[in-house]
Amino acid sequence: MSITPDRDETPQDRDVLAGEYVLGLVEGADRNALEQRIEQEPALAASVESWRDHLAAIDATARPIPPSPGLWSRIEAEIAAILPAAERGRSKAIKAGNTLANWWNSLFVWRGAAFAGALAVILLAIGLNGALDRAKRQPLMVAVLLTDTNVAAAVVNTFADGRVEMVPLQNIAVPEGRALEIWTLWDRAVGPRSVGLIDRARTTPLRLDQLPLGKDQLFEITIEPATGSPTGRPTGPIVAKGTTAQTL
């Protein structure tokens, strides 16, 4: 089945392609290309919607699993953290004429690129898939975060487009009901600022959109309550810390 529009594509071909997409069988670059087509072709979009409608009954057969107690507060915390930047991004985009490019820019400000990949597709009201290829991008600066026994626990990568990510290098034990909070410190007079909160060690984009970023800037990870430090400053034990250095 061809992903690019084809003069010879019959309505049946289109329905099959839409069905394969909704089943999750269109992968990688094909998926991205198809999502663009869905955005532009109402007939294809309608076919996708029709498959989703029919197959929704299968999702309804999934056994409900009660959420763990911290899930709602993690969602709330994430929403609270993104809202101001999201509002900023939105007003900026409207002022600049609400073009797609501006929308994208505001997104990059708003959140890390991993999530922007997801959002781009919601914009298309369709789906998401690998809008970024992290591996192709070379970081500008790297900080290796060491434990107090000098074991490398994580690295922080900063990229030319302003993205910053934290990549754990080993599993970090997080007690029940606690989370890992990531901090950066560029000026002792200002003090450390929180740039991320995760429930367990995993790669995560860091939110530095409004903060300075330079060489020899400190990053550290501490153990905090699940919803983040109550004081806005690190309160728990330091898991690891390190300072940024330029890559060659």
Binding site: D59, P67, E78, L119
Partner: protein, 187 residues
């Protein structure tokens, strides 16, 4: 979803909640959470096997729902369908695209799925959805199984071929033919 009165009413509530989310009402997001979160974790767990990953997908989905509630268009489809499309896309991304840093022993697709997620078990649970159930019944059991393995467990063509020891070309063409049959039946 099934078209009985209760689910129609539920669908209306979800759509009203999405509109309220779009105007910044966090309690509306909480209403969606209370109504759908357990089922969403169930759907995500079928795809991702691991509970922690399933909750992560659901967490991300709720943030996306909140952020983009204003983009939900009732003219284009049902609110529940929109929510589950966001969830499935997020879960498939975690499943396929994202390099997980945890020291994972086996690829997720190789992990044993719960027996509850077997195609024929799902079929028996589908009896409430009469149209879909009847149309799936018109397919031979094995072909119906291919469609359900893809949708329920998130398996790729290649993974289905490996699981069932079938040539990948046959898996692809059988799924295509099954989709044609289903489309004709479902209308």
């Amino acid at each position: 979803m099934a078209s009985d009165t209760a689910s129609t009413q539920k669908a209306g509530e979800i759509e009203a909640a999405l509109l309220a989310c779009a105007s910044g009402d966090k309690s509306a997001l909480r209403r969606i959470y209370d109504a759908e979160c357990p089922r969403m974790i169930g759907v995500a767990q079928r795809l991702l096997r691991r509970r922690a990953l399933a909750e992560e997908a659901v967490q991300d989905a709720f943030v996306l729902i909140w952020r983009h509630a204003a983009r939900f268009d009732p003219q284009r489809g049902a609110g529940l369908t929109w929510i589950y499309a966001i969830l499935r896309n997020r879960a498939l991304s975690i499943l396929r695209d994202e390099k997980r840093t945890e020291l994972s022993e086996t690829p997720i697709a190789d992990e044993t799925a719960s027996e509850e997620d077997d195609p024929e078990t799902v079929m028996t649970k589908l009896s409430d959805a009469k149209a879909l159930h009847a149309c799936l019944e018109t397919l031979p059991e094995q072909r119906r199984g291919l469609v359900l393995l893809a949708f329920v467990q998130g398996l790729t063509h290649g993974e289905i071929a490996g699981r069932l020891k079938l040539p990948i070309g046959s898996v692809k063409s059988w799924i295509r033919r099954s989709l044609i049959t289903l489309k004709e039946c479902l209308g």
